[in-house]
């Protein structure tokens, strides 16, 4: 299929995600309380609020512009582990987008670049019980479904992310704060994987 995603849809994605994060901040903080330091919800909420503020005042002529701003804003406002990771994701993601609308293939390239950025920045791998356990199966599922169009590919990605998130729950963490808990981290859902699933679900709703 030849469907594409344009600047307005990307912008809508970010605004909708900000609302989703705000609504889910207590859940994310609750998850982070069990195996972290009880701030993932407030971190992401602070970051996405700053993103919306930036979108409100900024003028963006291309998706590349938009996501550069999103990435920089997250890096500059979130802190913690998730700030550099999500920030790097959007900076790299935007770096692969051009000035005009993007098709399913182009979006896939951008997603890959973003996830590679997370790996480079955080040096984690699948199975370490981090957001990568959602991201990596998500991009694989996206690739497999890309020929069916953006909507179908993103839906597949979001579902795979959710499965990845859940499959990481029984694991013992090796990266991030949860790793300090050792065996006690097993059985808890990872907060960053959870916010990743929300991001991809929102993408499927807004970009599809």
């Amino acid at each position: 299929m030849g469907d594409t995603v344009d600047l307005d849809q990307f912008s809508d994605w970010m605004r909708r995600y900000a609302g989703v994060i705000h609504d889910n901040a207590p859940l994310l903080t609750e998850l982070d309380s069990a195996i972290g330091d009880a701030d993932h919800g407030s971190n992401m909420d602070r970051g996405m609020t700053a993103v919306v503020d930036a979108l409100d005042v900024g003028e963006f002529t291309s998706p590349a512009d938009l996501f550069k701003k999103v990435g920089m804003t997250l890096v500059s406002s979130v802190g913690g582990a998730s700030g550099p990771l999500y920030g790097t994701f959007f900076l790299r993601f935007g770096g692969k987008l051009g000035a005009g609308p993007v098709d399913a293939e182009g979006l896939g390239v951008a997603l890959h670049a973003g996830v590679d950025g997370i790996v480079q920045r955080g040096k984690a791998a699948v199975g370490d019980k981090t957001m990568l356990d959602a991201w990596v199966p998500a991009v694989e599922a996206y690739d497999a479904a890309a020929s069916s169009g953006v909507g179908a590919a993103l839906t597949a990605a979001a579902e795979a992310a959710a499965q990845g998130r859940d499959s990481a729950t029984p694991l013992v963490a090796h990266r991030g704060r949860a790793s300090y808990l050792g065996e006690r981290s097993a059985g808890h859902q990872d907060p960053g994987a959870t916010s990743t699933v929300l991001l991809l679900e929102t993408a499927a709703e807004t970009l599809g």
Partner: protein, 334 residues
């Protein structure tokens, strides 16, 4: 949540207002970047020392800014590492031509944010930047395949020793090498009797029964390595000291700088009692205490509990320790 605050979102910014009101003679604050500066920074020719991290560990780091210790402390949100912008602003500001050392506690977030700042500094400025990543917490198994040990109590002692070295005019190379040596010589272990409440979260991070404690905690109100039955001070001291002593690099005949640190909610009378226990255990192990600190130095909000830090100290370390320091949190000889 019972706290002396206004809006949870403003805690860090408003505490900075109080810091400046209280210590405006010695410190100045960049409110935009939430950086606490030594008033006379940059000092020409002196290596600039920057630390930073999440807030909620006071007096660390802001309370250690001043002559003989840090040039700047970058304050993140409570338990959230600062962002690269803050670290970059501080790096540029404190450089007096001799370069800047970043003192980073080993947490994924802190390491990444400091790394990004260092990358930006390299790209955007001519400031030479080095980093030391403190990872002294023996509660955490170290391995290539994990995030490694956390940075906890040794940070306080490192900031003092390295601060004295920088003040005395040592070069960036020397200061960075010293920082690595201090980190290599330091080990810590902590326990919690209660949890604490992150203001933005509004409720305690974990729940703990009346007869339980968390062993192997860090400084972010997080649960520890394991939950054990509430112990007497004597047993608790053993639980903290043993894993330190079995870890490198201490042995009979060695001398240490020792710290019994309160997590924020434990009264000083208990910390002194614990210090007595720790002192006895070290004596039994044939380890001498050259210098010590007893009190709240690196905290986890209002958590009850304590940690023990030992840094193996040769004469050089002791001399650096004794050098004058004039900060809100540590002061002597000035």
């Amino acid at each position: 949540m019972k706290k002396l605050i206004n809006d949870p979102a403003d805690v860090v910014a408003e505490a900075l207002v109080g810091m400046e009101a209280a210590h405006g003679d010695r410190l100045r604050i960049d409110y935009e970047h939430k950086v606490i500066y030594r008033k006379d920074a940059p000092r020409q020719g002196k290596v600039g020392l920057i630390s930073g991290g999440g807030s909620g560990h006071e007096p660390l780091h802001g309370g250690y800014v001043g002559p003989g210790m840090l040039d700047a402390a970058c304050c993140g949100e409570v338990f959230t590492s600062p962002v690269p912008d803050q670290l970059l602003a501080a790096t540029t500001e404190v450089d007096g031509g001799a370069g800047v050392l970043h003192i980073v506690k080993n947490y994924t977030g802190d390491v990444m944010n400091f790394e990004m700042a260092a990358e930006l500094a390299a790209a955007e400025s001519a400031v030479e930047v080095r980093s030391v990543v403190v990872d002294d917490d023996v509660a955490v198994q170290d391995s290539l395949y994990t995030a490694g040990r956390r940075g906890v109590g040794t940070t306080v002692i490192l900031e003092k020793l390295v601060g004295a070295a920088a003040e005395s005019g040592r070069s960036l190379d020397e200061v960075a090498a010293l920082a690595d040596r201090v980190n290599a010589a330091g080990r810590s272990m902590g326990l919690a009797l209660t949890s604490c409440t992150v203001p933005a979260a509004g409720k305690p991070t974990f729940e703990l029964g009346e007869d339980e404690m968390e062993l192997g905690i860090g400084i972010h109100g997080e649960p520890g390595r394991k939950r054990v039955p509430l112990a007497s001070a004597r047993e608790a001291a053993q639980l903290l000291v043993d894993p330190i002593l079995t870890d490198l690099p201490y042995g009979t005949g060695d001398s240490v700088i020792a710290m019994v640190n309160g997590m924020g909610g434990t009264p000083l009378i208990e910390l002194y009692l614990m210090y007595g226990e720790v002192h006895r255990l070290l004596e039994q192990a044939g380890i001498g205490i050259a210098r010590c600190l007893v009190g709240n130095y690196i905290t986890s909000l209002e958590m009850a509990g304590c940690s023990v830090t030992l840094v193996k100290a040769d004469d050089e370390f002791v001399d650096l320790w004794d050098a004058p320091v004039n900060t809100p949190g540590l002061r002597w000889g000035a």
